[in-house]
């Protein structure tokens, strides 16, 4: 490597290091701010009483979190059982049993499921699932534990499926060929060889799914039943930790408000524990010193070989059925919303001036546009800078890189409601604003940006860099004139993924950017995006017609983002 470090080179390096360390700063800031706001409550209520108290009655200063902790844990475990199982089987179907022509279709289905805003999942639960459960089981109310678990399971399914899919596809072919050559059937090979070989990846997928389930707010908000009581049946109303925060933050004051921040702190702790578990799974396993096995011997000598594998065959059929069910559910979700929403869409509803009695989406267009623009303006340079540092300035295996990565991964696991809480304290001194919302969201999309850009930077051949340096160009010039342009696909991917995330986000924006359907007069004014308006129309001020119409527009936006991503991917693939 040619070392030509003059002043501007050094300055550039400092800029990149700063960008990379920003994630560390962000995580610390979030933890610190939340802790600082929560601490007074913990002091006054007493940490033990807070965590294990069984009554949440703010009116009488009783703050016991246990029913909500139990609710979160129960819902997460059930969602993991449902979404995890369905997700793994769907992945098995896509990797092994999906006809070649349908593979692209299924991949897009997974991408679509992943991109649907969580508030829409909640809406779907409210309009289809809960009523269906109610009539199916003749229950008093369709809401409660079961409904929450089902919706959350559906929500984490795409995460589990895509990560499991990657893990299964990474199992070397020679492995499965060895099994097939011994006479095992395809199905037997999948369940006895491929799946165990992908164990680490599958566990990671489930852990990440669990993280999403714990931190999810909007999807369960309207179907959980919202009662701070211990669950005592599939249909008893419950209140997960996230819902506790979002429901009461609007009017909480003093100790109550601090107790809600303490709830956020508890959430953070859960997520950090999960992250630790994830790191534990992923670490290199040392060879265990197994005691030797002594053979019993005395076998028959002559054996009868039978064709077996009924169990595996059944599991394979189950995979195909499950994949079909997933497509069906997605179809129902989209169909229901479109059928009920399209008639409600009029030019007036989209672009007319909003009043309190008749809200329109004009404000949402403006708010969403501003937030996208501002978030990208902040996150893209930061993310690109961080990625440049991680790829161009460090040696593989360096300790600093490992530390930074841990913090980036941590940042990406923090629940959106906690980001919202942080944004509230850090950016809303002067009241809610689009700008505060953008600052909050830029923190949320940062890990995605870093990851995308990093991937494409890594794909640039070293020979290209060496060629430039050998001609006498400085490192910085090499990066900006040679490397980055080749890695443009990563930046574009980052932008598209971020836009998708921003469009879907609601929990982090309600308390930072606001939830009124008015048109903001400037980025310093408050305003709601489409997803936040959905929240408004379903949870704050129920307005079914507006909810259906907004849901339809939201779905179309998601389609558009996916389409853009699809075409970009195709274009970059062609150029390769």
């Amino acid at each position: 490597m040619v070392k030509s470090e003059n002043k501007s080179e050094k300055a550039a390096k400092i800029v990149f290091i700063t960008a990379a360390c920003f994630s560390i700063v962000a995580v610390f800031a979030i933890v610190l701010f939340i802790f600082a706001s929560a601490f007074p409550a913990l002091q006054e209520i007493g940490t033990f009483k807070f965590l294990f108290g069984s009554k949440w009655f703010p009116k009488q200063d009783e703050y016991g979190l246990l029913p909500m902790i139990v609710a979160t844990l129960l819902v997460t475990v059930s969602a993991l059982l449902i979404g995890g199982a369905f997700g793994i089987f769907t992945a098995i179907f896509v990797v092994y049993f999906c006809p070649k022509k349908l593979k692209g279709f299924f991949n897009q289905i997974i991408v679509l499921l992943a991109g649907i805003p969580s508030i829409i999942y909640g809406f779907f639960g409210m309009i289809v699932l809960s009523p269906a459960l109610k009539s199916l089981f003749n229950a008093e109310s369709g809401n409660g534990l079961l409904a929450s678990a089902l919706i959350l399971g559906l929500m984490i399914l795409p995460t589990v499926t895509s990560l499991t899919k990657n893990a299964l596809e990474s199992v070397p072919r020679s492995y499965s060929e060895g099994s097939l050559a011994l006479g095992a059937s395809r199905e037997q090979t999948i369940f006895r060889i491929d799946l165990p070989a992908a164990k680490t990846g599958v566990l990671s997928a489930l852990t990440l799914g669990a993280g999403r389930a714990i931190g999810e707010t909007m999807a369960v908000l309207v179907v959980c039943g919202n009662s701070a009581a211990f669950p005592d049946g599939l249909f008893s109303p419950i209140r997960p930790l996230t819902v506790n925060i979002v429901n009461e933050m609007g009017y909480a004051m003093g100790l109550h408000r601090q107790a809600l921040f303490a709830t956020g702190l508890v959430l953070l702790v859960f997520i950090f524990l999960l992250n630790g578990f994830l790191a534990f799974i992923k670490r290199e396993k040392k060879e265990k010193d197994e005691a030797n096995r002594t053979l019993v011997g005395g076998g028959a000598g002559e054996y009868i070989y039978k064709v077996r594998g009924m169990g595996s065959k059944i599991l394979s059929v189950v995979s195909c059925l499950i994949a079909a069910v997933v497509v069906l559910v997605l179809g129902i979700l989209i169909g229901y919303i479109l059928v009920n929403g399209l008639p409600e869409i009029s030019l007036d509803f989209l672009f007319g001036k909003p009043t309190y009695k008749t809200p329109t989406l004009l404000g949402a267009f403006v708010s969403t546009g501003w937030i996208i623009l501002l978030s990208l303006l902040i996150a893209i340079p930061l993310g690109v800078g961080a990625a440049i540092f991680l790829v161009e300035y460090t040696k593989p295996g360096s300790k600093l890189v490992k530390v930074i990565r841990v913090f980036i991964d941590t940042l990406s696991g923090i629940p959106s409601i906690v980001f919202g809480l942080f944004g509230m304290i850090a950016f809303c001194a002067g009241g809610k604003s689009l700008f505060a919302g953008a600052l909050t969201l830029s923190l949320m999309i940062l890990p995605t940006v870093i990851r995308s850009v990093e991937e494409s930077l890594l794909a640039v051949q070293n020979s290209v860099r060496e060629g430039s340096l050998a001609l006498g160009a400085t490192k910085v010039r090499t990066i900006f004139k040679v490397v980055l342009p080749s890695a443009l696909s990563g930046v574009v991917t980052a932008i598209i993924l971020s836009v998708g995330r921003i469009v879907s986000e609601s929990a982090a924006l309600i308390f930072t950017a606001g939830s009124l359907p008015m048109v903001p007069s400037s980025p310093l004014d408050s305003g709601s995006t489409f997803a936040v308006l959905m929240y408004n129309f379903t949870a704050e001020n129920p307005n079914m017609e507006a909810a259906y119409a907004t849901a339809t527009v939201l779905l179309m936006l998601v389609f558009l983002v996916n389409l853009a991503a699809y075409f970009c991917e195709k274009k970059w693939k062609k150029n390769k």
Binding site: E140, S515, P520, S521, S522, E540, P542
Partner: protein
Amino acid sequence: MKMKKLVAMVMALTAMGSVATFSACGDTQTIEIAGSTSVQPLMGVLADAYMAKHDDVQIKVEGGGSSIGVSNAKEGKGDFGMASKAVSETGVTAVKVCDDGIIVIVNKQSALTDVTGVQLFDLYVSGTALGAVTMPVTRESGSGTRDAFEGLVKGADGTKLETVSNRAPTQEFSSTGTAMTYVEQNANALGYISLGSYDQKKVKKLTFEGVEATAENVKNGSYKLARPFNILYNTEKSLSDAAQGFLDFILSKEGQAIVAEEGYITL
């Protein structure tokens, strides 16, 4: 080349955003109002009417509950607070806008027609069923409507509901709208909401101790479940011109006509 395209796209977006922004801009005066979700719908209609006549005024009406309305006024945050109950705080001036009844609602399929205070007390405290009704619906702890309701509902021995902390499980909602929606969707539910928010297409209202819940009965005092809607502001802080103008509008004949039209009880 591709970089240039990106930069061009960014500039176009910024331009679009600015245009959208400036079209809404001007010499806008903003009035910020927050508080009771029961008062919120009425305030929204009043705001719509006022903004229709005054192009340069933007009025923001947010919920949050009566407690927020009171504390905002106390701290001087925003222009006005809203409360759906009587307020007597030092440093806060409360101006009554209208009166509102609290109605008890059930699902349209329910056979119930009347309810007494004691029946309500027993339902909310112990979950004692009222015919097919088994699930009481309540409001969040900062709700003025809840404060008013629990102050007016008394048990057989005269105990006020608000003093009892050991309750049977209830469904809790943080706005009138969501509470009404729940009752609309559940045959076994019973709740209480603002009279002015009553939508007979969605739910059925019960008579209280034999008296029908109408604006007249609230005005003449025969319907007991009632409370005032107050607009609050900090006594020390002086109101902006726009805010004063809006307050005058609400108390004027025009404003009160809207109040009556929306189903509330005029001053």
